[in-house]
């Protein structure tokens, strides 16, 4: 299923006065800070609508609370809030925001950060490794932007259509299962292919290169279990080899 049933049924004709919310919501993270996170971004996105409210002060105050949402899922939430504000149902917008935001973000975080994005990056890097960087980069970029555009716009349209019912429509707001499955397959294929192709090629180049690769696999696995940043692991291995180099061995170092 390319998109959930709700997306297909949703009225995709979003009211013109909600469009600025979509574009302004694109920069939600720009003023992110630890105290209120994306609150300034929400004010920026909703401001054109809130300023038209008769009770402007109350409407603005409602949206000064801390807000944090996955940027892929935020358009759905912003659209629902904007619709409720434009219908003078601001209190419902706040209640809906507090209920829906964490759940929606949880769904988005898994899809974006551990499925879609790594899969597209794998396509790009695989293109580089097989000697077709332009094809790899363009394919990855095209797929990612297509999924992002479809997902955010349909989420926005669905949010605008659902309004206060967004909480009940949550299962339908889930990202496409087909895309998640495809990302899974790409990740699995790449894991096997990189491991075997890298191992064989390293062995052909020099046994010491294969030793380095397998050492990095072992150290990297241990470090990743302890949530150590990969960059620091790389620097640690290089520093360790630098120290070993001080004690020259007849066999030499890889």
């Amino acid at each position: 299923m390319a998109l959930s049933g709700f997306f297909r049924k949703a009225d995709l004709k979003v009211k013109r006065d909600l469009w600025p919310v979509f574009w302004r919501g694109w920069t939600l993270d720009a003023s992110w800070h630890a105290e209120r996170m994306q609150a300034l971004g929400v004010l920026f996105a909703l401001r054109p609508l809130l300023e038209r409210n008769i009770e402007r002060g109350v409407a603005l105050e409602r949206h000064t609370a801390p807000f944090n949402a996955n940027t892929w899922m935020a358009p759905a939430l912003l659209a629902a809030m904007a619709r409720l504000e434009s219908e003078r149902r601001g209190a419902e917008a706040v209640r809906m925001r507090d209920i829906v935001s964490p759940v929606l973000s949880g769904i988005g975080d898994i899809f974006v950060w551990s499925r879609c994005r790594p899969a597209c990056l794998v396509l790009a890097v695989t293109g580089v490794l097989v000697g077709s960087p332009v094809v790899g980069l363009l394919t990855a970029l095209g797929v990612y932007i297509a999924v992002l555009a479809v997902h955010t716009w349909h989420g926005f349209a669905a949010g605008a259509a659902a309004g206060a019912d967004l909480a009940r429509k949550l299962p339908a707001l889930q990202p496409s299962r087909a895309v998640a499955r495809a990302a899974h397959v790409i990740l699995g294929l790449a894991t096997g292919a990189w491991c075997v192709a890298g191992g064989i090629h390293a062995w052909r180049v020099a046994p010491s290169a294969a030793f380095l690769l397998s050492g990095a696999l072992a150290v990297g696995y241990t470090a990743s279990k302890r949530q150590l940043p990969a960059g620091l692991v790389f620097l640690g291995i290089v520093a360790f080899l630098g120290v070993l180099r001080l004690f020259h061995s007849p066999a030499g170092l890889p």
């Binding site: 003023s31 300034l40 603005l60 992002l148 096997g192 990095a216 180099r245 890889p254």
Partner: protein, 237 residues
Amino acid sequence: MDGARRAARRTMVSEVPAFGWTVLAGAVLALDDAAGVSLLISEPVFAGAVFGLLSGRFAAGVAAGALLQCLSMVTLRVGGARAPEGWLGAAAAVAALPPEVSFDGLDWLSAASLTGPVAAGIVAAFLGRALRDFQRRIVALCAGGAIERAAAGDASAATRLHVAAIGAHAVRGAASVAVVFAMAPRFAALVTAAVPDVRGGWIALGIGIVALGRVAPSRRRWTWVAGAALGALWVLS
């Protein structure tokens, strides 16, 4: 400052290729990374391609970016967690790339001269993250007053602060890429001098495989086996 040192410094600055385009790329990539919905172009492999293209060494830039990408394949930017600035790392790696490396086939993974640039890239990425966090602390300092005014019915200060934050990301990106292009070659040279024979490409690939294995589905092991078969076929053919 004597004439030779002044000339050397001038040479370092003038080495920034296509200066205007490079800092513009830095601004755009910083915005993509920090300002909102990312279009993926701020990931190291894409940033490496951009800076490589601007330096006239596309293949080298892509290769350096791919190695850094292996080290940041999976980043969970959840809540307040923010990853190191991979795009700035790619800029540093491209700036520090040695001219003599060939990028045919997979042999470049064995080039020991890539270790220094990749190390410079990692350090630059972490420094970039520190700078971005500093900017966010400044926004937090200014946000209190803006939020109070918004709560009182005037959202103009909040809007101005948000727009200023967007501008600050762009300026930070432009400035940091200029600094990195000037400084990274020196740092990479130090690393290369300390570890002249370490083949960092294979280390980065190994760490990248581990990162992939952590997010690849354990329920679909057949994909791993199929991938292994494809990889073996590709190398042996």
